[in-house]
């Protein structure tokens, strides 16, 4: 065992220490949150060692520790895979979590159960680490389900609120639909390949892989909130803001994309699945961007923008560029987590006000948050030489020069332009102009926990993209030559979005709708998706459960067919056949007569 594996194992082991400490008196200490935060920061620093070594040497490692079970010819053991994806993602996730933990010390300081909150966040991080480092599908599934359950617990953190509980249940429901796909893929691999080890799966014959790949795509759709299973992500904003920053922007929701990246060796030759993936991603990125345009809740806008970026990642996988999608996962983690933290800072300062119409003029009151928010938004839109640029621009370029599906490409471009539009809208309404919030609110962002954590991610949002893309070797050959208009396309549509949104906002600021247009309603009501799906389907299902399953079948028909009808039939037939009339004296009389007669005959017999 060289320094590589030992240091990565130390990183993983360190994360479990605060969980174990939860059984000691440490857990009732007020310093437990700081302890968790510091542990994660150390884990981050240690995790840099293997990452550096990986960047230097480029060696994949796979370790197999504890033999769990062998069934027939299938061996399952605890095994970790430290390859390109996990080695880059682990430090990124730890860095982001470190900042978010520090941010939560500030954000959750008045919560009586803050220690439990930190424990949950850490448990989530551990399951996420299991997910990204897993080398077999069972272990991957442990992490996969683990992040789902932790998201249930964290979304429902304020368990007294009905909305939080509903959102938590909704998240589990949509994730669970995705899990069915995962289980289907597992079943297929087991039946046909007799293995769950990734290496052995990748050696599979590349024909007829449609069933497992559809399963994996379904899993990714559920976890990464792609179109059809997307409504849980905006609903999940009921959870505390640190949860949104950690789970619903940078780590958990990218697990689906990560899964597809992991299984990319199977997908790269399957054109059907790539087309489906591309279209799914394109629909998602456009639809959620449209929804983001007219939302008023600041967290919802950021959530929809996350969903839109996830769609973009899926598009990237659809055009057969998993490494680019992975790069976008890493860069996206920095600025999206920061955007959530900035909105958390605003929400906290404005006394839990989330409506951007009631903000305004915050650039004077919250200068640091404003700076970070603007940098984050610019990075999100792919402004040159900020973090987002390095992945987003490359994705759009590659999509432009690929010859897969012009329609999907067009949708992606429109969505890219809309990214700029809704970012402008946040900046315009929340930060610029006159204050529209209550004047008695005291605004204070000068807490070192807040400033430091956002600052760290701010540096990340500016430099991380450069650092990551400078250090990793390009694994797919980038397109070197292309016409000017294709090269500039990403920038042009983004700037177009900016200008349009700015003009519209300036012009419409003092005008009022007479009545909202159909398009506005479509966007504001989230495409009527929740209205249709969340009313109709549960209602039908529950009605079916009540009416047909419970009342009709169980309580009526099955009772009637077996027990009731038998007892009824017996009763009727016995009353019909029997001559029992309750004449007890007569019966006793005949009984006695029979007895005497038989005794007499018996005695005479002898």
């Amino acid at each position: 065992m060289n320094l590589f594996t030992s240091s990565i194992l130390v990183t993983l082991f360190m994360l479990t220490l605060p969980i174990m400490m939860a059984n000691t008196s440490m857990y009732i200490n007020k310093l437990y949150p700081r302890y968790v935060k510091t542990t994660i920061s150390y884990a981050f620093m240690i995790s840099l060692i293997p990452t550096m070594m990986f960047l230097h040497l480029g060696q994949d490692t796979m370790i197999s520790n504890w033999h769990w079970i062998t069934i027939q010819t299938m061996k399952l053991s605890l095994s970790f895979k430290f390859d390109y994806f996990s080695m880059i993602f682990v430090p990124v996730a730890l860095f982001v979590t470190w900042s978010i933990m520090e941010f939560s010390i500030w954000y959750m300081h008045s919560d009586p159960y803050i220690n439990r909150f930190f424990k949950y966040l850490l448990l989530f991080l551990i399951t996420m680490m299991i997910l990204v480092t897993a080398n077999n599908m069972f272990q991957l599934f442990i992490g996969w389900e683990g992040v789902g359950i932790m998201s249930f617990l964290l979304i429902g953190w304020w368990y007294g609120r009905t909305d939080a509980n509903t959102a938590a249940l909704q998240a589990i429901l949509y994730n669970r639909i995705g899990d069915v796909g995962f289980i289907m893929a597992m079943a297929w691999f087991l039946t046909n390949l007799n293995t769950w080890d990734l290496q052995q799966i990748f050696m599979a014959n590349h024909e007829n892989l449609n069933i497992p790949l559809i399963g994996l795509l379904l899993a990714a759709t559920g976890k990464s909130a792609q179109f059809g299973l997307h409504p849980w992500l905006p609903s999940a904003m009921e959870g505390p803001t640190p949860v949104s920053a950690l789970l619903h922007s940078s780590t958990m929701v990218v697990a689906g994309v990560f899964l597809l990246i992991r299984f990319h060796p199977l997908m790269e030759h399957n054109k059907t699945l790539q087309t489906i993936t591309l279209c799914l991603g394109a629909i998602t990125t456009l639809f959620t961007a449209v929804c983001a345009l007219t939302q008023n809740d600041i967290k919802k806008i950021v959530a929809f923008s996350t969903s839109s970026q996830l769609g973009l990642m899926i598009v990237t996988i659809g055009i057969n560029q998993p490494y680019l999608a992975f790069l976008h996962i890493c860069t996206h983690a920095f600025f999206k987590a920061m955007l959530f933290m900035c909105s958390g800072s605003i929400i906290h300062s404005l006394n839990d006000e989330q409506d951007i119409r009631k903000m305004g003029g915050l650039f004077k009151a919250l200068p640091f948050t404003t700076t970070s928010l603007i940098v984050g938004s610019l990075a999100l839109t792919g402004m040159p030489f900020l973090t987002g640029f390095y992945s987003k621009d490359l994705i759009i370029e590659t999509a432009n020069t690929s010859y897969t599906n012009a329609w999907a490409l067009l949708m992606t471009l429109v969505a890219t332009s809309m990214t700029a539009a809704y970012s402008t809208r946040i900046m315009f309404l929340a930060l610029l102009g006159q204050p529209r919030f209550s004047p008695i609110i005291t605004i204070n962002e000068n807490d070192p926990h807040l400033i430091n954590s956002i600052k760290r991610l701010l540096f990340g949002s500016i430099f991380a993209g450069f650092l990551i893309s400078y250090n990793i070797t390009p694994t797919t050959t980038p397109q070197m030559t292309m016409p000017h208009y294709l090269k500039m396309m990403a920038l042009i549509v983004t700037i177009l979005g900016f200008i349009l949104a700015l003009e519209l906002n300036l012009m419409m600021q003092n005008l009022k709708f007479k009545y909202p247009s159909g398009l506005f309603k479509f966007s504001n009501m989230l495409g009527y998706f929740p209205t249709i799906i969340h009313r109709l389907m549960p209602k039908t299902n529950l009605l079916m459960g009540q009416k047909s399953a419970s009342t009709l079948l169980d309580m009526t028909w099955m009772e009637k067919i077996l027990p009731k009808s038998i007892s009824h039939f017996q009763m009727k037939s016995s009353t019909a056949v029997s001559n029992q009339k309750g004449l007890i004296k007569l019966y006793f009389m005949s009984f006695m007569l029979t007895l005497t007669l038989s005794l007499l005959t018996l005695s005479f017999h002898g």
Binding site: I71, F138, I149, I172, L173, R176, I183
Partner: protein, 459 residues
């Protein structure tokens, strides 16, 4: 085998001769010790089985169930303490005696070598259960429930007796160890079809198969806590155990006869799960969730592949512990709220945080969170049914989703939200209850570390 049976028998004099203050602690402690003896049977060091005598044997299929049975008696005793506290001493002793008798019969059922002895003991377990349900249940509906319980099971199992007699005269033996070598393939004919039905229906009713399950929710709801626990944890598993044992006699007819029952189970598990979504009664919800989980076991047993047998065995053990734990939790709510209705016991997390943790863990195991053995069981069953027919994944998937939904619905309704005013002065959770939950959960977690011991025969 006598080292388990004799101590279990001696629990009865122990109960009657103990001091009034010591009856619970004595019986609980001794039955716990007995269950520790049984643990050694989990170590099946040969590929075949452990023969103790001509009458008793265990193999890797019956050993986990045997251990589950012995493990459950102390838990039942712990769970029943509170609701018997108002009864007289004699009645308490009688109740414990009933539980011990049931335990004794169950142990012998799981280890019987002769099928006819298995049958007799299988029927004999009805009596103590019936007495427990109809004597110590809470409402008058318990009599009706007892009637349903008795008649469904009896009507289902009487044909088995005839079938067994016929088999004995035909094969010359009903010894489980010998029969697998002597059995003749059953050809497809009307009489053989009837034989198949006679052999299987007894266990299908016991499992219960969807359509023949009406006795189960009634019996579960009306039984006292120990009755519900033992019903869910062990008595249902008699059906699965019996099916796995008797299918060796019924080949190759099962391949053909399985279809209607497979369909009924696959359909039934979705129907029962969706009934769970609409339940207002906590115990009834858990009972229906048992039906839905047992449908998976029926599917697995009927598929008859090594993977499906492993899944069925694992799922039976996992479900035994999980559902028993859920019943205990429901009972601890019932003892405080005095109602089984869920909306009367809302928001308990605020008042009983540790109990909320048990609820959470129980719900998570019920929805088969990896890496618990519930998942191992369910996953293997899904694998087996997927390789049997790819389309079943749709039904299985719907069931997986609904299972997660109702488990969390139960959790959210009872634990989350604002608490109601009438629960303000409830008692805190007792150490007895917490240790009861721990003793349910500990085996679940430990078995997840090494699920091989409960996978049954690994071929």
């Amino acid at each position: 085998m006598l080292k388990i049976i004799v101590p279990t028998m001696m629990l009865i004099p122990l109960t009657w001769l103990s001091k009034p203050s010591m009856i619970w602690i004595n019986t609980t402690a001794y039955s716990m010790l007995i269950s520790l003896i049984g643990l050694t049977y989990l170590n099946q060091f040969t590929d075949n089985n452990l023969n103790f005598s001509l009458l008793f044997f265990t193999d890797s299929l019956s050993a986990p169930l045997l251990v589950l049975t012995t493990w459950l008696l102390p838990l039942m005793l712990m769970a029943s303490q509170h609701h018997l506290s108002k009864e007289t001493l004699t009645r308490k002793k009688l109740y414990i005696t009933m539980l011990v008798t049931l335990q004794l019969l169950l142990i012998m059922t799981f280890t019987a070598t002769e099928l006819i002895m298995f049958y007799i003991l299988f029927e004999a377990t009805l009596m103590p259960t019936l007495i427990i349900i109809t004597r110590w249940g809470n409402q008058t509906e318990r009599l009706n429930a007892g009637l349903y319980f008795l008649f469904y099971t009896l009507v289902g199992s009487l044909p088995l007796l005839i079938a067994l007699l016929w088999l004995q005269s035909n094969l010359g033996t009903l010894n489980l160890l010998v029969i697998q070598y002597w059995t003749q393939p059953l050809l497809s004919s009307w009489s053989n079809t009837l034989l198949w039905l006679a052999c299987m229906m007894a266990f299908m009713v016991k499992m219960p198969l969807y359509g023949l399950h009406l006795w189960l929710p009634k019996a579960h709801v009306e039984a006292p806590i120990a009755g519900s626990m033992v019903l869910a944890a062990v008595l249902l598993k008699l059906g699965g155990y019996g099916m796995m044992r008797i299918t060796i006699l019924l080949n190759p007819l099962t391949d053909f006869m399985a279809y209607p029952f497979m369909m009924l189970s696959l359909w039934g598990m979705i129907m029962t799960s969706s009934i769970c979504l609409r339940q207002t009664d906590l115990k009834s919800l858990i009972a229906y969730s048992s039906v839905s989980h047992m449908a998976l076991v029926i599917v697995a047993v009927l598929i008859q592949s090594p993977w499906s047998y492993m899944g069925a065995t694992a799922l039976m053990i996992a479900h035994g512990l999980t559902s028993s734990m859920l019943f205990c939790l429901a009972n601890s709510n019932y003892e405080r709220i005095h109602s089984r209705t869920m909306i009367l016991a809302r928001g308990l997390q605020t008042l009983l945080p540790l109990m909320a943790a048990w609820w959470l863990l129980a719900s998570l195991t019920n929805l088969a969170l990896p890496p618990t053995i519930n998942l191992v069981g369910e996953l293997f069953v899904v694998m087996a049914s997927f390789s049997w027919s790819n389309i079943t994944i749709i039904l299985m998937g719907i069931n997986i989703t609904i299972t997660a939904l109702y488990s969390l619905y139960m959790l959210i309704t009872t634990q989350r939200g604002k608490y109601t005013h009438h629960v303000k002065n409830i008692k805190p959770s007792f150490t007895r209850e917490n240790s009861l939950m721990t003793l349910h959960l500990l085996p679940l977690l430990l078995l997840s570390l090494n699920p091989k011991v409960i996978l049954g025969p690994i071929y």
